[in-house]
Symmetry: C2
Subunit: 424 residues, 2 copies
C-alpha cells in the first residue's frame, strides 16, 4: 500500500473540530490535490488547541510521513499556541517578516478598504519563525510556513485553517514546491458511477473480475445516495505507464456494469445532466415542493449552468402550487399534495411557466413530522417530462430529513437523465 | 484541558477519506453527541483500509483515551479487513450471531422487500467476534460491536461508516451504555452568534474580558461566513454547578457584543429567522437569481418551515425574472440583471406572486466567469422588503463560487432578520 509512494500526514488543529462544531472539509481538499500529484495521505489527525497534543502529533507523524501538513491555529484570535510551538519545535525565533507586514497593510487599506480596522493583532500575523520559508497567502493575513528541519527527514507545512485561504496556498505555493522537491510516484484513479443496483449486487457482478486485479490495483465501492461509485486505483512509478496499465481493467469494469452505468468520470449527477443538456442544446427547470430548492441550487452550483438551467418554482405552500404551477384545487383535495397527479400537474406548470424543454417535479413528506398512516414520512413522488410525455416514480424513504432530501434530489436527477436519453 | 474529563479518540477507516473522495461528517456528529454527555474527543485519526495502519492507530489511541470509537470498514463489500483485524486484536473468533442474521433476513424481506437480493455477503455481516457485545443496528445490516478487553483499560466501539446507520447506533446503543459505564465529568458550552464585525474587532471588544476567565473556562472565535460565533466552554465535575458558574461570564459576553448579537443559541440564521417569523405569525418567500435556490433549500431544511415559508421563484434566466417576477425589460437593459433596480423589482414580484409578508431577492455574479470591468465576479445585490418598504445591500465578494453563494445566502438572511426586527 505505502510502498511505491510518498506518504503525507495531515494534522488539523482546533477545538472546534473536536467538539464537532466544524466539519473538516480542508483535509479532503488537501488529500485530493496531493493525490493528483502522487502523494498518498496515509493518516489524518485532528487535535485540539493544546501544546502537548500538537507536539505529540508532530512527533508521531514525522515517523511515518515525509510530508506533514498542519492546518489551523493561525488566525488573528488564535490562542497563540501553534506559531510559538512551531518556533520552539524547530528551534527558531519569532521575527517580523516585512513582506507579510506590507501584505497585511495592503489588504486592510486596498482590499478590505478599512485601514482603521487593522489592529496590533493583525500586524502580529507578520511575525514568523526565522527558521521557515514564508508562503505568500494572497487571500488573507496569516502566512503559510514551510519548515525543513536540518536534523531528521521530512517537510512540515503550516497553513491557516480558513478554507479558501488554505486552498489558495495549496495550489499556488505548496504543490509547485512539492513538485520541485520530490520525484513523485504515480497514483491513478478511474471512477465509474452506477445507479439502480445495490452495493452487494454490484459486487456479485464483479466477483470474477476483482480477483484478476494485480496487487497494486485496488477496487473500492463508494455508496452514494442509493447509487454506487466504483473506483479503481493503480500505483506505479510513472504516470503514463500506470494509466495505460489501468485502462483495460477499467474498460472491463465498465463493460460489466454497463447496464447501470451513469458516467465513467468522477462527477456528480448534476454535472452529467448538465453535459447532456448542453450537448443537446436543451433547457430545463424544476418545480420543487419537498426538496425546497435543493435541486435548483445543486444544478446552479456548477459554473456555466445558466446555459441550460432557466429557473425553478419552489412551491412549498399548496397555494403556490395552484397560483404559479396551475395545479388544480380539486387534485390537491382528492389526491393530495403528495401524489402522482400533483407532480404530473407540476410538470405541466413548470414547462409552461418557465418555458423550458424539460421539467422535473418533487413532492413528498421529508419528516420528522407530517406523516399519516396512508402516507408515512418518506413518501415521495417525482415526475419528469417534456411537452410530449411525463414519467413518474415513487420513493419510500426511511432516513432523516436531510438524507431524505438528498436521496430525492439524486433520484430526481437520475430519472430526468434517463428520460432525456430515452426520449431524445 | 484534559484533566477533569473522560477522553475519547475517533478512528475512521477508509481509503475514500484519505484520497478526499468523501468528507468526514461522522466524526463531527460523534464529537457533538459525546460532548453533550461530557466526553472530550481528544484526537481524531483517519487511516486507510490497511491492517497495520489500523492496528497502529488502535495501539496509539488506547494509550491516551478511555473510549475509542472506530467507524467504517464494515459494509458488505468492505475488504474484509476491519472485522477480522478486530477479532485478532482482541483475541476472539468470528462466529455467526443468530439475532443479527435474523435481522439481516428481516431487512431484506420486510423492509427492502427484495429477499432475492440477499446474498452470501450480506449474511456474512452476521459474523461477529465472540469477544464483543453486539450493538443492534436498526437501520442497516452491519452490526455495531462493543469490546472491553480484559487486559488494559478502555472501551472500543466499532460502528459502520454509513452516516445514518452510525447515527442511530450512537444515539440508541452507544450513548446509553457509556452513561451506565462512566461517571461523567461535565462540559458546558454557550454560544453567541454575532454579525457585522470582524473577528479581530470582536476580539478588541473582548480584550479586557478574556483575561478574567478562569483556567477551566475557554473562549473560542469561530468565523462563519463573515459572521463570528463566540463560544464559552467550561469544564467541571457537575453539570448544574458548571452551568451556573458559566452563566455570569456568558451574560457579560452577551453584554459586550450586544450591538452585534444575532442569537445567544448555537443555531444558524435560518433557524433564528424562522423563529422570528413564527412568533410574528408572518410568512416569507424568496426570489433568487445568483443563489439559485440555496436560500430556499436552507430555510426548508428546517422541520416545520412550512409554517412561515411559502416558496421561491428561482429566476436564473432573465426571461423568468420578466415572466414570473415582473422585472421590466427596460430595467434589465439599462441597469442590468445585477443591479439595485432589478433586485427591488424582484421583491415586488415575489411579494405579489408568492403572496407573502416578506420577500428577499438576490442577483450577482458568482464566478469563476461572467464578470466585467464594471461588474467584476463577486458583485452582488440583495434586497429585502415588505408591502411598505424595501432595503438593499451590495456585496463585493472575492471567493470561489461555492463560498460566494454561501456568503450571499448568509448576508441575505441576516438583512431580512434585521429588516423584520426594525420594521415590525
Amino acid at each position: 500500500m505505502s510502498s511505491n509512494s510518498l506518504n503525507a500526514s495531515i494534522i488539523t488543529i482546533g477545538d472546534e473540530l473536536l467538539i464537532g462544531q466544524t466539519i473538516d472539509t480542508n483535509s479532503a481538499f488537501i488529500a485530493r490535490e496531493f493525490n493528483k500529484i502522487g502523494i498518498w495521505v496515509r493518516r489524518r489527525v485532528a487535535v485540539g488547541d493544546v501544546k502537548e497534543d500538537i507536539r505529540q502529533a508532530l512527533d508521531e507523524e514525522r515517523k511515518q510521513s515525509q510530508v506533514i501538513v498542519i492546518t489551523g491555529g493561525l488566525g488573528p484570535t488564535a490562542d497563540d499556541i501553534t506559531k510559538p510551538l512551531l518556533c520552539e519545535y524547530f528551534g527558531g525565533q519569532l521575527v517580523v517578516n516585512e513582506e507579510v507586514k506590507a501584505h497585511v497593510q495592503y489588504l486592510f487599506e486596498k482590499v478590505y478598504r478599512r485601514p482603521g480596522a487593522m489592529l496590533e493583532r493583525n500586524l502580529k500575523q507578520a511575525e514568523v519563525p526565522d527558521v521557515c520559508t514564508v508562503l505568500h497567502n494572497a487571500r488573507g493575513t496569516a502566512p503559510g510556513m514551510w519548515f525543513r528541519p536540518p536534523a531528521g527527514r521530512g517537510i512540515f507545512i503550516s497553513l491557516p485553517g480558513v478554507p479558501h485561504e488554505m486552498k489558495g496556498l495549496i495550489k499556488d505555493e505548496v504543490i509547485p514546491r512539492l513538485l520541485k522537491e520530490f520525484d513523485m510516484p504515480a497514483i491513478v484513479h478511474r471512477t465509474a458511477f452506477t445507479a439502480g443496483l445495490g452495493e452487494s449486487m454490484i459486487a456479485e457482478l464483479l466477483k470474477d473480475f476483482e480477483p484478476t486485479l494485480p496487487e497494486h490495483i485496488k477496487l473500492a465501492y463508494l455508496p452514494n445516495y442509493g447509487m454506487v461509485k466504483l473506483r479503481l486505483t493503480a500505483r506505479g512509478n510513472n504516470k503514463e505507464a500506470t494509466e495505460k496499465e489501468l485502462l483495460p481493467y477499467f474498460e472491463q469494469l465498465l463493460e460489466l456494469v454497463s447496464e447501470y452505468l451513469v458516467t465513467n468520470e468522477d462527477e456528480g449527477l448534476e454535472i452529467v445532466l448538465g453535459k447532456i443538456l448542453k450537448t443537446k442544446g436543451k433547457t430545463m427547470g424544476t418545480a420543487e415542493s419537498c426538496t425546497g430548492g435543493n435541486i435548483a441550487q445543486l444544478i446552479t452550483s456548477i459554473p456555466g449552468s445558466s446555459a441550460y438551467f432557466k429557473g425553478s418554482i419552489v412551491s412549498y405552500a399548496n397555494e403556490v402550487k395552484e397560483n404559479l404551477l396551475g395545479v388544480k384545487t380539486e387534485t390537491l383535495k382528492t389526491a393530495g399534495a403528495v401524489s402522482e397527479e400533483t407532480v404530473k400537474e407540476m410538470i405541466r406548470g413548470a414547462l409552461d411557466n418557465l418555458k423550458v424543454d424539460y421539467a422535473l417535479a418533487t413532492s413528498g413528506i421529508m419528516g420528522p413530522t407530517g406523516g399519516t398512516a396512508e402516507k408515512p414520512v418518506g413518501t415521495v413522488w417525482i415526475a419528469v417530462g417534456n411537452a410530449d410525455k411525463t414519467e413518474t416514480m415513487q420513493l419510500n424513504l426511511r432516513f432523516d430529513r436531510r438524507r431524505n432530501i438528498d436521496m430525492t434530489t439524486a433520484n430526481a436527477l437520475n430519472l430526468l437523465r434517463k428520460f432525456i436519453l430515452t426520449n431524445g
